[in-house]
Symmetry: C2
């Protein structure tokens, strides 16, 4: 089914590439975040990649649009990997700042699970399978989340470097929740 | 099924982003190739992105390893698109040179269909679904190819900018075919 196919694709085609400490001159996400802390003089509550999984599939291009307390900080340095004929393909993540209070800011490496945006685009274009996907949207997201969580937990080189944030991004009356507040709640377990 | 899911993902999450001429300052693949021709003083037989779809799913990291007549030329300039929380995500393709004869070289923008590499990794890691995928490998690749071809043909902004090369990459006695020779045959229709 589409949900677990996307989870496999995201895991093998992305998380397994960017997360692990490899013991080569290519860095894993934890080292890249630690270098960033040292160079920028900032402190992260967690050195993990946080992946947002919104129930509605809606993944805005950048996260500051989704919250009154989120600001773009900057991109982390890229890693490059030759893969399937593309020479030195670039992989980089984005750091956001979340304003916890007037004085306190949280730095976090954060992004949406891109396959969900792709699913959103498929449904929007109303192609042949789009109607099936539309009807089963919620099951697909749930299947994506559960499969991805299992794949991560079964991989010792990845599981401690990534946190999945599965959340309902709409309130009961269809309003958007503040994504910054959702992430802060998850960061609280690291304080 | 996995094959068409991957085709939808590859089409909506990649080809629809990199192929079309957008009429904005972000270039489509044809303009990027034409700029490259002008700057490097070379001529391409075709300004399309060529996508290799090998029946065995085997997608080596770079293509010069697969052929005695293929050389890496260089990467095309990247395009950057903010997508699903990743700020200015980088998309770039690779140009290869294929030696047609002592004196004649073909320049071509070429890569493997990345989702097939993911399928290969799934099977290799022997995860829960891996056995089903192994048994149905050939049907999956065929379904991927047929679905992708339909999606491309139905999109006027994409169909003239991409050519799919679906091929059996093993000979009858299990040897690897020369991928350069396979691509040259496809380029012949542009001469
Ligand atoms: N050749 C090639 N060059 C690219 O730049 C590229 N970008 C995507 N794809 C392929 O298109 C399809 C849709 O991509 P999507 O972004 O939804 O999923 C992607 C995305 O969620 C994640 N991912 C991969 N690379 C990155 C990246 N650089 N930044 C963030 N996420 C990434 O992991 C999934 C699987 O990636 P690939 O297994 O490389 O193949 C993808 C996929 O089959 C590409 N294929």
């Amino acid at each position: 089914d589409y949900g677990s196919a996307m989870a496999y694709s995201f895991f093998h085609g992305y998380l397994q590439i960017v997360l692990p400490h490899k013991g080569t001159d290519q860095k894993g996400i934890q080292e890249i975040i630690r270098d960033f802390e040292a160079q920028q003089g900032v402190v992260f509550s967690s050195h993990k990649l946080f992946v947002l999984i919104p129930l509605s599939l809606h993944c805005p291009a950048t996260i500051e649009q989704t919250s009154s307390i989120v600001e773009l900080a900057q991109n982390l340095p890229e890693i490059t990997v030759s893969r399937a004929g593309v020479c030195k393909r670039s992989y980089k993540s984005t750091v956001y700042k979340i304003r916890r209070s007037q004085t306190e800011k949280e730095y976090v490496c954060l992004e949406y699970a891109t396959p969900l945006q792709t699913l959103f685009d498929i449904i929007k274009h109303r192609t042949e399978h789009a109607n099936d996907y539309e009807l089963h949207k919620r099951e697909l997201v749930l299947q994506f989340y559960l499969t991805l969580r299992t794949l991560l937990n079964n991989d010792p080189d990845c599981k401690d470097h990534c946190e999945l944030i599965f959340f309902d991004d709409k309130t009961d009356n269809g309003q958007d929740v503040d994504v910054g507040e959702v992430v802060l709640e998850h960061l609280n377990s690291y304080k």
